[in-house]
């Protein structure tokens, strides 16, 4: 799911586990390493800088090491971190990732917002701006074009 704002990605997921447990998975280094990326130097403290060692995302010009910082948090409710590319990466990515937890039944709905993509960076979102404001509706129009084609 994407919004009409091409600088932001929004994904949400229902997790059949209570918020306090999900919060631990988001904030304890050994648990973060299991589902996201190893980040041995993570500490839940605003202003604390840490690095992620991950898989490269070549399409996004991401070499694999994320330079992050805890920007804000509210226990069991919200965690916002900076998500920056390494200076040596092709991408000049300087974005933020916000995890928001909302209780839902016996589980948790996790909202993830990855914001701050720079539309002028060809490795971040060149493709997004190609269609300008017409792009969000394009997939539907594309499907129609395929249907009506040949």
């Amino acid at each position: 799911m994407t919004t009409d704002d091409p600088t932001t990605i929004q994904v949400d997921e229902f997790l059949p586990h209570p918020p306090d447990k999900v919060w631990r998975a988001l904030t304890e280094p050994e648990l973060i390493a299991r589902w996201l990326m190893p980040c041995a130097d993570f500490r839940l403290e605003v202003g604390h800088r840490f690095t992620f060692e991950g898989r490269p995302v070549p399409q996004a010009g991401f070499g694999g090491t994320g330079h992050s910082e805890v920007l804000a948090f509210e226990p069991e409710k919200m965690l916002r971190i900076a998500w920056r590319a390494a200076p040596s990466d092709l991408s000049g990515l300087d974005s933020t990732v916000t995890f928001t937890l909302e209780p839902e039944g016996t589980g948790t709905r996790l909202f993830l917002e990855h914001a701050g993509f720079d539309l002028d960076d060809p490795y971040q979102a060149a493709a997004r701006r190609l269609m300008g404001s017409g792009w969000p509706g394009a997939p539907k129009a594309l499907a129609a074009a395929i249907e009506s084609g040949s």
């Binding site: 447990k21 589902w35 996201l36 074009a145």
Partner: protein
Amino acid sequence: MDQGTLTDEVFAALGNPVRRQLLRLLLDGPRTVTDLASHFDMRRPSVSEHLRVLRDARLVSERRVGRERHYRLEAGPLLELQDWLHPYERFWRAHLKRLHETLEDM
């Protein structure tokens, strides 16, 4: 998919406002060169030249209908492009799947 091909050919073709506008017009369905040219303040041969670039990048295809040439969008490269433009969405979806597994094991 071949990232190199997509980047070099398709992106070069798309790096021009006239050609992007041509694609927008074609999103509504096939159009004739005459129809397409009517949307631009330039001579028809210039529009045809832009269409040629789009055709070379396989973003559009041309078909002759009588004396008119009809252009239509070729969805393939654009769908690849759509896939290309959301690498982080794929990234997060994959990792959220692993978050499920991590929570199960906790």
